[in-house]
Symmetry: C2
Subunit: 331 residues, 2 copies
C-alpha cells in the first residue's frame, strides 16, 4: 500500500540526494555520477515514481499535447486521419486531446477555448466549412494549427488535403475514354472545400463542350442524400458521378430499385474509397484518397510548425483512380 502520490521529493529523500539531482537523472540534462544515477533509479523504481507531466507542463510551458478537432469520430474517413496523426505524434511523445464538434459551430468555439486553456502545443482541425471562425481563433492564440481536408491561406495555419480536383479530372478522363458522354454529378454541400473542388473539376471537364450532356444536383455526403438525388434526376445519364462513396452507395441502391443495371445501363462512381467500396455489389469505381496519410502529413506539418516556425504551407496529396465493376468499359 503506497501513499497517494510519490513526488520527486520522495525519491530525493529516499535516495539521499537533492530533488535537482533526481530531475537531472530523469531529464539527462547534465552529468550526474554513475553512483547517484544508480541510487536515484533504484529509489524511483522502489517507490514507483514517474515524473508528473502536469507539473512538467506548467514549468516548461509546453504540454506535449495536440488538440484534435473533428466533426465525427465515427466516420472512418475522419478517424483514419486521427490514427495517422496519432501514430506519428506518439513516437515523439505527444498525445492527442480529442474533441468532436459534431459539426456544431458554437460547440466548436467552446471546445477551442477548452483546448487553448489546456495549453495545447498545437491544433489539428478538420472543419466542414471552408471558412471557419476557428481559423481566426487559432491565429489570435498563436497556436500552430493544421487544417486537414481544407485549404486556406492564412498566417499560422498550414493545410493538408487530397488533390480533389486532379482526382475527379482523372476519373472523368477515364469515363470519357470508355465512351461515356452524358453525366450527372451528385455533389456534396459546396460549402465544404473538397466538394467544391470536385465540383469544379467536373464542371471544367464538361462545360462548354458540345459532345457532353450533364446535370448537377446538390446534396450531402450521405447515403440518404444519394438516394434522394437520384430520384430528382431528370434523366438517367451514361454515368452518375458522385461526390463521395456514401452518395454512390445510395445512388446505386436507388438506381437498381428503379430497374437499372449497373454498369450495363448506367455507370456509377464515388470518391474516397472507403473500406466498403470494394465490398459492394458491384464493387465501386472510385478515386482513392488516403486519409491515414493525410492525418500523418498533417501531424508532420504541425511538428515542423512547432519546432521550426514554418507556419504557412500547403500539402496536396495524390489520389489514385480505382477502376472496379460499377463502370462499364465500353458503350
Amino acid at each position: 500500500m503506497k501513499s497517494k502520490h510519490v513526488s520527486i521529493r520522495d525519491v530525493a529523500k529516499h535516495a539521499g540526494v537533492s530533488i535537482a539531482t533526481v530531475s537531472r537523472v530523469f531529464n539527462k540534462t547534465s552529468f550526474v555520477s554513475e553512483e547517484l544515477i544508480e541510487k536515484v533509479l533504484t529509489s524511483a523504481k522502489e517507490l514507483g515514481y514517474h515524473p508528473n507531466r502536469v507539473a512538467q507542463s506548467l514549468r516548461k510551458g509546453q504540454t506535449k499535447t495536440i488538440g484534435f478537432l473533428i466533426p465525427d469520430i465515427v466516420n472512418p474517413f475522419f478517424s483514419s486521419m486521427v490514427k495517422g496523426a496519432e501514430d506519428f505524434l506518439k513516437s515523439l511523445g505527444y498525445i492527442i486531446l480529442l474533441c468532436s464538434s459534431s459539426g456544431d459551430r458554437e460547440k466548436e468555439n467552446e471546445l477551442l477555448v477548452t483546448l487553448y486553456s489546456r495549453k495545447i502545443d498545437g491544433l489539428i482541425a478538420i472543419t466542414l466549412e471552408e471558412n471557419n471562425p476557428l481559423i481566426d481563433s487559432a491565429i489570435s492564440q498563436k497556436v500552430p494549427t493544421i487544417l486537414i481536408d481544407n485549404v486556406v491561406n492564412r498566417p499560422f495555419v498550414s493545410c493538408v488535403a487530397s488533390d480533389n480536383y486532379g482526382g475527379v479530372k482523372k476519373l472523368m478522363n477515364y469515363l470519357i475514354e470508355t465512351g461515356h458522354s452524358s453525366f450527372a454529378f451528385l455533389s456534396g454541400d459546396p460549402i465544404i472545400y473538397s466538394a467544391k473542388e470536385r465540383l469544379k473539376a467536373f464542371k471544367d471537364t464538361v462545360k462548354g463542350k458540345d459532345d457532353f450532356e450533364f446535370e448537377i444536383l446538390f446534396g450531402e455526403y450521405t447515403y440518404e442524400s444519394g438516394i434522394e438525388m437520384v430520384r430528382k434526376l431528370s434523366r438517367i445519364p451514361d454515368a452518375v458521378v458522385c461526390g463521395n462513396d456514401m452518395i454512390a452507395f445510395g445512388a446505386m441502391v436507388e438506381l437498381e430499385r428503379q430497374g437499372f443495371r449497373i454498369p450495363q445501363d448506367v455507370s456509377v462512381t464515388g470518391f474516397d474509397d472507403i473500406l466498403f467500396s470494394r465490398m459492394s455489389q458491384p464493387p465501386l469505381t472510385t478515386v482513392r484518397q488516403d486519409a491515414y496519410l493525410m492525418g500523418r502529413a498533417g501531424a508532420e506539418l504541425l511538428i515542423n510548425a512547432i519546432n521550426e516556425e514554418i507556419k504557412n504551407e500547403v500539402v496536396l496529396l495524390e489520389t489514385t483512380l480505382e477502376i472496379r465493376g460499377s463502370t462499364r468499359e465500353r458503350k
Copy 2:
C-alpha cells in the same frame, strides 16, 4: 499584438484587485462584490484571459481528463464508444486523452504509463483479451477504471458490455423457429470476451440435442477471416452463424462465389449491426448492440467511480434481434 501568456496576475493588476479575487470570480467560490466582478471580467476580456487548466490541475490534483485506450480508432464499433463517452464527459467538463494500442500489449503498457503520468482522473479501456495486464496496472495506480466490452471482477474496475450471450440465444431461437436445423458457427478469437460469450450461447443451444447438426470454426473478427472459414466448411448448413458482421460479409461473398443463394440455399447472420449491415445485398440479419450507449454507460460508471467511490460494478446492455433478408423465414 499581445504578450505570450496572460496570467491571473496580469488580470489582477489590470483590474486593480488581488489574484485571489480574480480566482474567486472565475470559480464562484465565495462572494465577490458586483463591482469587482465587473472589473475583473472586463479586464479579463480585454486581455483575453482564460484560466490555465494546467496550473489548475497541478494545484487541485485533478485534471478533468479521462484516458481512453482503444485497439483501433478506425473501427466504427470502437469509435462509437468513444463518441458515446465523449458526449457525456464533455458535458461535465472532462476531456478525452486518446490512445490507440493497435492491440499491441507492449505498447499498451507504455501508453498506460504515459496516461498515468499525465494524471488522468479515470481510464476507459477497450481491451481485446479478456485478461489483460493493464487491469492490474489500473488497480495498483488506484485510478478508477472502466472496461468496455469485457467483464472481470476486480477492485477499482467496473465493466460495461452487451449481453452477448442473450443476443446469440435470441438469434438461435429465431433460426430454430424458422426451421433451420444445421448450423455452422464462425467464431472470432475466443481470447476476446465477446467471442467467448457468443460461442458459449451457440454451444449451449445446439449441444447434446439430436435435432441439430453443427460445426464450429475459429478465426478473427474480419472480412477475410469470414471468407477463409467458409472455405473450410465441411458442408454447407442451413444457417451460417457468424461471430460478427464483418465475418458475415466475408461469408456471404464467399458463399455466393461458390454458387449458393442467400437466403434460399443458406441463411447468414451476424452480430453488431454496423452501418453497412442494412446496406449489404441481401441486408444482414444480425444482433444489434449499441456501441454508442456502451461508451456512454461506461462514462457514467466512471464518473460515479470518481465521485462516489463505487468501484466495482458490471452493467450488461440489452441487444436487439434485427431480422433482415439474409435469413429465410421458412424452410
